[in-house]
């Protein structure tokens, strides 16, 4: 019984991350970083398309590092870390895109005069 449990513990320890996972994470990250860098330095597409690609590459690298460096895929059954991560991602998306949305909307709806009046009323201004 105790031998059996010891084996489980040993297995768990090795599954936390092996040399192979760190090396593959490192190599993939370097490829993704250099790919994004070269896309920007060699203007081969329109800027809008490059932005789309490099954001995609950054998200790939986020996944690579989560899996190979932080071993998120190796978590055992009640996946609390994953749940907390997903909750955090939801909060981050609301925070970032909500702010951009609200501020762009304000920018669109206010004339420069309105902005100046508002700033002066706040005691600030340029």
């Amino acid at each position: 019984m105790s031998k059996h449990q010891g084996m489980i513990v040993a297995e768990h320890e090795t599954s936390e991350g092996s040399l192979k996972s760190y090396v593959s994470g490192f190599v993939l990250s370097i490829i993704l970083t250099l790919g994004a860098y070269l896309m920007v330095t060699h203007h081969s597409f329109t800027a809008d398309r490059i932005v789309g690609v490099i954001v995609g590459l950054a998200l790939c690298q986020f996944l690579v590092q989560m899996l190979f460096f932080l071993h998120l895929g190796k978590e055992t059954k009640p996946r609390w870390k994953l749940f907390v991560l997903l909750f955090m991602i939801t909060v981050v998306l609301i925070l970032v895109f909500g702010s951009i949305w609200i501020m762009n909307n304000l920018n669109y709806r206010m004339t420069p005069e309105q902005i100046n009046t508002y700033m002066n009323n706040q005691g600030g201004g340029f």
């Binding site: 760190y22 970083t33 490099i54 950054a58 907390v84």
Partner: protein, 205 residues
């Protein structure tokens, strides 16, 4: 009887210790996630203000991409050597642990040096955080990351000193594991700074 009871007792102790370790790791993970929210608010601020240059220069003219690529590769390599250090710690190789984490430390210092050189250059050429809303947001976002790196280096220095003088204990290994999570997390944040601030800045987006 007592001899038969002892091994099970030992097992139970190590089991609860493992459960305690798992709790500590999870608690640290939750802290890291809340730190992500801090960075998210700074990213949102940057996204809103990055066009407000107030007649000053934009990222397109300010950023030196080769310098930033060097910073990125240095931080990525330090994240990798940190992982190798964790593998050595699990195999209880004290000298290898010291070796890999010392490399991590040196790479971290090199990263910080490059970042401070960039900041110094910007301030000297009159483009400090006082120049425009864009630069305020830039210095706050990148500076907060740099501050995290500095705290991480301080933490690592203390840990290395403890391991050098007192050797690898279970306590030290647990703290090294927490440090490695922190360090990998800072590398992930930097990917987004690299992409959103520097690469997209260079594209004029």
């Amino acid at each position: 009887m007592s001899e038969a009871a002892n091994p099970t007792m030992g097992l139970e102790v190590s089991n609860t210790e493992q459960a305690k370790n798992a709790k500590t790791l999870f608690g640290f993970w939750v802290y890291i996630m809340t730190d992500c929210v801090l960075f998210a608010s700074l990213f949102a601020t940057y996204a809103v203000l990055h066009r407000s240059t107030f007649g000053g220069p934009s990222g397109e003219t300010l950023f030196s991409l080769p310098n930033v690529l060097a910073e990125t590769l240095i931080l990525l390599t330090s994240s990798f050597t940190c992982g190798l250090g964790i593998l050595s710690a699990r195999a209880r190789h004290k000298n290898k642990v010291l070796f890999w984490f010392l490399i991590t430390f040196v790479l971290g210092v090199a990263f910080l040096f490059l970042e401070l050189t960039e900041f110094r250059h910007l301030v000297i050429t009159g483009n400090s955080w006082r120049r425009s809303a864009f630069l305020s947001a830039f210095f706050t976002l990148v500076g907060t990351h740099g501050l995290h790196i500095s705290v991480g280096l301080l933490w690592l220095a203390v840990l290395l000193g403890k391991i050098f003088s007192k050797g690898l204990s279970k306590n030290n290994i647990r703290q090294l594991t927490l440090f490695s999570i922190f360090w990998h997390f800072l590398d992930i944040i930097w990917i987004f700074i690299f992409t959103i601030v520097y690469l997209m800045g260079a594209l004029g987006k």
